[in-house]
């Protein structure tokens, strides 16, 4: 999300699962789709069977995805930017790019400010003490007309193309091989295969997941992949895209609905402390176009925001009180998972509501998490299962060796339902909101999450009403018009997200024309208004439940164009579009680059865009009008140069993981500041918990196994039978060195603790030659704990460091340092 939005405008998977079958080449890197997404992986086999597609896997481990690949290349964990930077260099220096595409649909020709610099691994504006950048210089040269200055000849050394060429020119195949440990021939073979897809009628799709996000520079890894795809013209086309595979069935819905601490629904953002003024808040987000004639769709921010506030506060939100803007929290900083546990650890948190989340197992550095939970006064667990977190205070021998008498935290368990025990929608990786129906009644006292939340809310409201309080307004004024206030139905909530007209909504061009009558469900976000006449709880979901009914419940899988575009199956946001940026699949005149995989095309006779998808552009805007495909970006085009959208720089640069087997960054051996991500946040006291390569010489990397889902399925006997006992994987060479045989018990330790597990000795984990030294990787599956029916095991996150990506703060689970010994 934090990398695709700065590049393309929206932080979501660009294509969809079924569309993977349209690819000619599939690159799985930063993920392991066959194991983590076995059902979705079927579309890879479809592409192989029906398009003769090839599959490349780049991974530190030879995974089950690699087992069915056409080509596998090993890579050292945490060095993907170097690898992909090398691919960019290969494509540029061998002229394997889609010229027309990059010239017209990206920022290639945009001129960058002269003050912007990149020296010895650090971009301009760095404050080493705060570990933060002042991003003032990370911008474009602006003309007097208020638009970005461009150089269509691409000769100006300050144009994005030239600057990018210089930046990635340093990533030669030798440099890549030296950093990544990937044999040079393997790297070049992958480059060659990828380069083939720069042709208009060839596409590559990239499938990735947590293997990219869970690094201290994870967002930039994804961005580098996105840049490769842009160079090849593989974004917005069938069989292309950056496909972020979601692990939880509804994790896409979580971010869509704004459940991250800094977000509002539909990727709107909460105001910061400095933004007390409503007008400035809106103006700062309603981006004006940076190039002539561009849509810059966020210009409508005010409409999305006001409609959202109407959904939340109803009649209490008025123009007079700025739609209740003052009731929104103003952030002094992000309150991500790591920050919250840091606060807890400092004794600044009294109570913690933990809903559908098992942080003792899922968060890094168990000792810190356990200590933090112990400092709470109360902990509320809303979960269908007894989790490690709900039992964190119990002594479970070696697996959770705590002293319950020393822990005063009061724990409340509120049993909730599983997905099959409730109605509702799930948003898939494909951005498809798919309705599902309750299959069975929940057991015992379990209640649905809306019912639990309603119970807490109504009690709070009653207390505020009776006793008053410091700030009762948002609680007392929250709309709660549910037929059963104590148990809001999924249908009611879904309708609220989709939105309705509070008064008649008219056509701005012809006020006499009523688009939707007051009281009716909206057809889509184009009908949203900022005058309080519409209400919508999540603008991107708008239209999912219109007067036509619940479109999420549609189950028509007809595929009239034969490329998997089933527009009448459920509902995809935004506006039921299945492939984002699909305007980019056509040339400037509106003709599809590949007629066999046509998504849309300009139909001059009809005066509109038509095809197998909903156009991701104003439907009746002729190509001559020059609206570019990336309508969410004020530039109208996709960004290679991310301006000020990323924490650590506009161009991704390779930095070592926070814990690295190398003493310095081979790209900048003389600059210790550029060793690891300069903008990664490290809390005071956590530096001391990072280990070094002398004591912990091996790279640890954690991952999931196909037999289990997170920490849930160890509660299920069938899954426990399939993968009963905790293990770690080590290469044959390291095993020999350490005298470890398959089936032995080993202790794996990091600076933060140790785990004991069975050793799986394998050829699939190779030692790699990195900067002339041998680097071994130890693979550590997650999944085990001290609850459930599988054999008890240690929590893998005992080992992992308490540091995250500089943009998202997603913990660095994929690359850290460990040691290993036979027990």
């Amino acid at each position: 999300m934090a990398s695709l939005a700065p590049t393309f405008g929206r932080g979501a998977m660009t294509n969809h699962w079924v569309d993977i079958k349209n690819a000619d080449l599939i690159l799985i890197m930063g993920g392991n789709a066959a194991e983590a997404h076995p059902c979705g992986f079927k579309w890879v086999t479809e592409a192989k069977a029906h398009r003769n597609a090839k599959l490349i896997v780049v991974d530190p481990r030879f995974t089950r995805s690699a087992a069915v690949s056409d080509y596998y290349a090993p890579i050292r964990a945490g060095t993907d930017i170097a690898f992909l930077g090398g691919v960019i260099n290969y494509l540029l220096s061998n002229d394997k790019i889609h010229h027309e595409y990059v010239k017209n649909y990206t920022d290639f020709s945009f001129l960058v400010k002269d003050e912007f610099k990149f020296e010895n691994g650090i971009f301009s504006g760095y404050d080493a003490e705060k570990r933060k950048y002042d991003k003032a210089t990370w911008g474009y040269q602006m003309g007097k007309d208020g638009f970005v200055v461009t150089d269509p000849t691409l000769k100006n050394p300050r144009c994005v193309y030239q600057m990018m060429k210089a930046h990635y020119g340093r990533y030669t195949p030798d440099v890549v091989s030296n950093i990544c440990g990937t044999p040079k021939d393997d790297f070049l073979k992958v480059c060659e295969m990828i380069a083939e897809t720069s042709k208009s009628d060839k596409t590559m799709t990239i499938m990735y997941a947590l293997g990219w996000t869970q690094h201290s520079q994870g967002s930039q890894m994804i961005r580098t992949g996105a840049m490769v795809q842009l160079l090849l013209g593989n974004i917005g086309v069938a069989g292309g895209g950056m496909n972020a595979l979601r692990g939880h069935s509804n994790i896409q819905g979580l971010t869509d609905l704004g459940l991250l601490s800094n977000l509002l629904p539909g990727y709107m953002t909460l105001p910061g402390d400095a933004e007390q003024d409503y007008k400035t808040y809106i103006e700062k987000r309603a981006f004006k176009p940076l190039r002539p004639g561009q849509m810059s769709y966020w210009q409508n921010y005010g409409k999305f925001f006001v409609s959202n506030m109407k959904a939340w506060f109803g009649d209490a939100a008025t123009a007079k009180n700025n739609w209740s803007y003052d009731w929104l929290p103003k952030l002094d900083k992000g309150y991500d998972l790591l920050q919250v546990f840091e606060n807890m650890n400092q004794g600044k948190v009294n109570g913690y509501l933990c809903q559908g989340f098992n942080p003792l197992a899922s968060a890094p550095c168990k000792i810190k998490v356990s200590g933090s939970l112990s400092k709470l006064k109360y902990l509320v667990i809303i979960d269908p299962l007894a989790t490690e977190t709900s039992e964190f205070w119990q002594n479970h021998g070696e697996y959770n060796d705590v002293d319950p008498s020393k822990i005063q935290t009061e724990v409340f368990r509120l049993p909730s339902t599983c997905f099959a025990e409730e109605d509702g929608s799930l948003v898939s990786s494909s951005r498809v909101l798919q309705w599902h129906w309750k299959a069975t009644e929940p057991p015992g006292e379990a209640k649905g999450d809306p019912e639990i939340m309603a119970g807490i809310f109504l009690k709070l409201k009653e207390m505020y009403k009776k006793d008053g309080g410091a700030f009762p307004d948002p609680i007392l004024n929250l709309t709660w018009k549910h037929r059963q206030p104590e148990s809001p139905s999924a249908e009611e909530l879904a309708k609220e997200f989709s939105g309705k007209a509070l008064k008649d909504v008219t056509d701005p061009k012809d006020k006499s024309k009523v688009l939707v009558k007051g009281g009716e469900q909206l057809n889509g976000f184009a009908e949203l208004r900022d005058d309080g006449s519409t209400s919508c709880g999540c603008w991107i979901f708008s239209g999912s439940w219109s007067e036509k009914g619940n479109l999420m419940a549609r189950r028509d899988n007809s595929d009239p164009f034969g490329i998997g575009q089933t527009l009448n199956w459920a509902f995809a946001w935004p506006a039921n579009r299945r492939v984002l940026y699909n305007r980019a699949s056509c040339d400037l005149s509106g003709k599809p680059y590949d007629s066999k995989r046509k998504l849309i095309g300009w139909d001059a006779a009809a005066g509109k865009w038509t095809g197998s998808d909903i156009p991701d552009i104003k439907a009746d805007s002729a190509p001559v009008e020059g609206i570019n495909p990336f309508i969410m970006n004020p530039e109208g085009v996709a960004r290679f140069f991310a301006v000020d959208k990323m924490a650590e720089g506009p161009f991704p640069e390779h930095y070592e993981p926070m814990e690295s087997p190398l003493a310095n960054n081979p790209m900048h051996p003389d600059n210790p500041k550029a060793r690891a991500n300069p903008a990664a946040r490290v809390f005071k006291g956590d530096w001391e918990t990072f280990g070094n390569a002398e004591k912990f010489p091996y790279v640890g990397t954690t991952y999931r196994l196909t037999e289990h889902f997170h920490y849930w399925t160890k509660h299920v006997k069938l899954n426990a039978i399939m993968q009963p006992e905790q293990f770690v994987e080590i290469g044959e060479e390291l095993a020999k060195e350490k005298g470890i045989k398959a089936g032995d018990h080993v202790r794996v330790k990091s600076m933060r603790g140790f785990i004991i597990a069975v050793a799986v000795v394998t050829k699939r984990l190779r030692s790699l030659n990195v900067t002339g030294k041998k680097v071994h990787t130890i693979g550590i599956p997650i999944h085990w704990g001290f609850m459930g029916v599988a054999k008890n095991g240690y929590i893998t996150n005992t080992l992992t460091p308490f540091v995250g990506d500089a943009n998202t703060q997603t913990p660095e689970f994929k690359a850290f340092l460990v040691d290993i010994e036979k027990v």
């Binding site: 089950r64 993968q723 006992e725 905790q726 050829k763």
Partner: protein
């Protein structure tokens, strides 16, 4: 269980002639190892459909779990790491289980009438109610598949979901396989499908790709597409030229007729003795 909708073609230790009126399609399951991602969904589906729950075991240093076929695990994935070409690692994942031989060694070896049957569609099934737990089927099997349960001393193995197939469904493992690595249908169609897969694999550089349908056991009703059909043993010891154990051959081929002959001869000898010597009359003198 005897299923009314499936005719029995052969029955262990029985000489009653088989029914032959209905025209049954010969079926086969095709397992394409080049498409298998080793997810074990087939193992789970097998346990769910057949109401089996094996022990929560141990990790013995490999991905294989349960580590071997058991009376409660009728199919297991076997993971083999091989380098056919130097520096080109392959992870060959084979779904192991009963091959449903056209010429089933287990059935031939079984001494208990009706404990092992072969349906007219080719499926070889164990009828546990007739099983005496002697283990001859294990000796008879060239693929080391049947397992005797410690719980009830009866032999168990994959039924090819004969109960599902009898009512027009595909086997549970086929239904669940997410990548389409397991397909099911008429044996002829499966061979045809395999040919397409072999062509594809050859185009991807697997020059020795081929179908595994070993003729030593008359062909099988579970077949594999192998990337390296010239070396089946790479796939966790899949036998190259499986055939029924000589012991069973001896028992059924030579020894049994001989034995039968022996019994017959004894009877005949007695008869001729009677004809020749007459009834065994007690001499009066002896009685005295």
């Amino acid at each position: 269980m005897a299923l009314q909708s499936l005719d029995i073609k052969a029955r262990s230790a029985t000489t009653t002639p088989s029914p032959s009126v209905r025209e049954t399609m010969e079926v086969a399951k095709l397992i394409d190892i080049s498409k298998c991602i080793g997810c074990k969904a087939c193992q789970v589906a097998c346990m769910e459909w057949n109401d089996l729950r094996d022990e929560v075991g141990n990790n013995v240093g490999v991905y294989d779990n349960p580590a071997d076929l058991t009376a409660k695990s009728w199919t297991v994935m076997r993971y083999a790491e091989v380098e056919v070409e130097q520096n080109k690692l392959e992870w060959l994942i084979r779904k192991d289980g009963c091959m449903h031989c056209a010429d089933p060694g287990c059935l031939k070896a079984c001494p208990s009438p009706g404990a092992i049957v072969q349906y007219s569609n080719g499926i070889v099934d164990f009828h546990q109610e007739n099983c005496i737990g002697c283990g001859y089927c294990i000796t008879g099997c060239p693929f080391n598949v049947p397992r005797i349960s410690k719980q009830d001393s009866k032999a168990y193995k994959c039924t090819l979901c004969s109960d599902r197939i009898a009512v027009g469904l595909e086997p549970a493992c086929v239904k669940t396989c997410p990548t389409g690595a397991i397909v099911f249908g008429a044996k002829g169609d499966m061979i045809h499908h395999a040919e397409g897969r072999v062509t594809d694999l050859k185009s991807r550089g697997y020059t020795n790709a081929g179908l595994y349908d070993p003729q030593g056991v008359g062909g099988t009703h579970v077949m594999y597409v192998l990337q390296h059909a010239d070396q089946p043993s790479l796939y966790s010891g899949l036998p190259k030229d499986p055939s029924i154990s000589a012991m069973v051959g001896l028992w059924k081929g030579v020894a049994k007729p001989l034995l039968s002959l022996g019994i017959g001869l004894t009877v005949l000898a007695g008869f001729f003795h009677y004809i020749k010597a007459g009834p065994n009359e007690v001499e009066e003198e002896t009685e005295k």
